[in-house]
């Protein structure tokens, strides 16, 4: 039987209260959202916080909305809400593509956007999708609020810019009219973490790639990105030749490792191939040829 180490439990009913509790209990306290990354780690004693602060009752963090030219997703929005959101689908189908292949419906009913980004697992699908889109992350502390670029948020595997007495409240993505986006993932079986996965968006100006973003999961790309590949596409015609060159750069510049999900060379192959597929689908969507 897997049981976590003992801990104290607190429930916060507002962001301020959560921050107060974090401050009062110090470094050994942790927030718990869906608990679907944290509890499995606590059950196998990879994590043993002394205090858990439950933020499921904190109001106002479960909204998906538009604010000016930004799409805003609250930290307590569940995977299922992301999957079902017409607003997100309208602007960025990459979210629906990714959510369809994140875990299973039961996990998606519980796991949150905030928990996904803060867990910062190198195989996290939303983090890779978020890295593709860029945007920003809003972090609250008792001193106030700060906004960090999405691509700086992940400091390394399982490490983010969120400090001990801080909390992620929302993530924001710039709306890019006419952009297409897509997510491509290979997993060993339904519901599993990625062997490799790639998210992308492409914004076209006629047949020229005006802007592009690529995010890679599970292949050891720093901050989930390979900027060289994006650079190679910006301002270029959207031809197969250019897409293949960018895919090759992702293949060459990621750093996968061999593990139970597959050998290094296979993952590298996938990084290239899935980049190509994600770009092609993004372009097809930008042109209105695919929904």
């Amino acid at each position: 039987m897997q049981v976590p180490e003992t801990f104290e439990y607190e429930r916060a009913s507002s962001v301020e209260e959560a921050l107060d509790l974090l401050e009062r209990h110090g470094e050994e306290a942790r927030l718990i959202a869906g608990g679907h990354s944290l509890l499995p780690m606590m059950k196998i004693r990879l994590a043993f916080p002394e205090v858990l602060i439950d933020i499921n009752d904190v109001p106002g963090l479960d909204q998906i909305r538009i604010e000016g030219d930004q799409l805003v997703i609250g930290a307590m929005v569940r995977h299922q809400q992301v999957l079902d959101s017409p607003l997100l689908y309208e602007h960025y189908p990459v979210f629906r593509d990714a959510e369809k292949v994140i875990a299973d419906p039961l996990v998606r009913n519980r796991g949150t956007v905030g928990g996904s980004f803060c867990q910062a697992d190198p195989a996290e699908d939303l983090s890779a999708g978020g890295a593709a889109l860029g945007g920003s992350v809003v972090i609250r502390s008792k001193g106030g609020e700060r906004v960090e670029p999405m691509r700086d948020f992940h400091v390394g595997p399982y490490e983010t810019k969120v400090g001990p007495a801080e909390m992620l409240t929302e993530v924001r993505f710039p709306i890019r009219p006419g952009a297409g986006s897509a997510y491509e993932k290979v997993e060993r079986r339904v519901g599993d973490w990625a062997v490799a996965a790639v998210g992308a968006f492409v914004q076209l100006d006629g047949d020229t790639i005006a802007d592009v973003g690529i995010g890679l999961a599970a292949v050891g790309a720093d901050h989930y990105i390979v900027p060289e590949a994006e650079e190679a596409l910006r301002g270029k015609p959207a031809t197969l030749e250019h897409l293949q060159a960018a895919a090759q750069l992702c293949h060459d510049n990621c750093a996968p490792t061999t593990d139970q999900r597959g050998p290094e060379d296979f993952k590298r192959h996938l990084a290239g191939e899935l980049t190509l597929r994600a770009l092609k689908r993004s372009i097809a969507r930008a042109r209105g040829e695919e929904s």
Partner: protein, 161 residues
């Protein structure tokens, strides 16, 4: 610490350790052993129950996190001695063999039908993708859920009345 929640409509209060998982609270504290406990690693789905109307894996939820919430287990499916259409569907279509996965399957199936009363085969297969079955090959489970969709409670009540 003391925790109070509603389980199948009844208020229950227990004094438990915060680390107690919901599945153990249900099985050991409340002695509702219909909810099964399998992999313990959030994969098999046999521990599926509802928390505030959403189907979740109770081995990956703390009981204290369900304080002041509503939990539903397989024991709550039948109403007034009348089996739920989902339960009847599993009987009619032979949706189980050993029965180990069945409580979780039925709780997920019921959750699906609440959201989508007329799901097609693909939708059903997607919905139960977090529930593993070692026996049936899933064919009859899918048929059982379709049966339930085709025989909602109001239609079937008179058959057995």
């Amino acid at each position: 610490m003391q925790v109070t929640m509603k389980v199948n409509g009844d208020e229950v209060t227990r004094d438990i350790e915060p680390r107690m998982l919901l599945v153990h609270f249900i099985r050991d504290e409340l002695e509702l052993t219909g909810t099964h406990w399998g992999c313990d690693t959030s994969n098999c789905g046999t521990c599926t129950v509802w928390v505030d109307g959403e189907a979740v894996k109770s081995c990956t939820t703390l009981a204290v996190m369900c304080g002041a919430r509503e939990v539903h287990t397989v024991e709550g499916l039948a109403k007034g001695g009348e089996l739920d259409p989902v339960q009847k569907g599993f009987m009619e279509e032979h949706g189980l063999q050993c029965g180990f996965c069945t409580p979780g399957m039925m709780m997920t199936a019921k959750w699906l039908l609440e959201k989508d009363p007329d799901p097609d085969e693909e939708t059903i297969r997607e919905a139960i993708s977090g529930n593993l079955c070692r026996c049936t090959g899933y064919e009859n489970i899918v048929r059982a859920i379709r049966w339930a969709a085709e025989h909602p409670a109001d239609d079937t009540s008179e058959v057995t009345a």
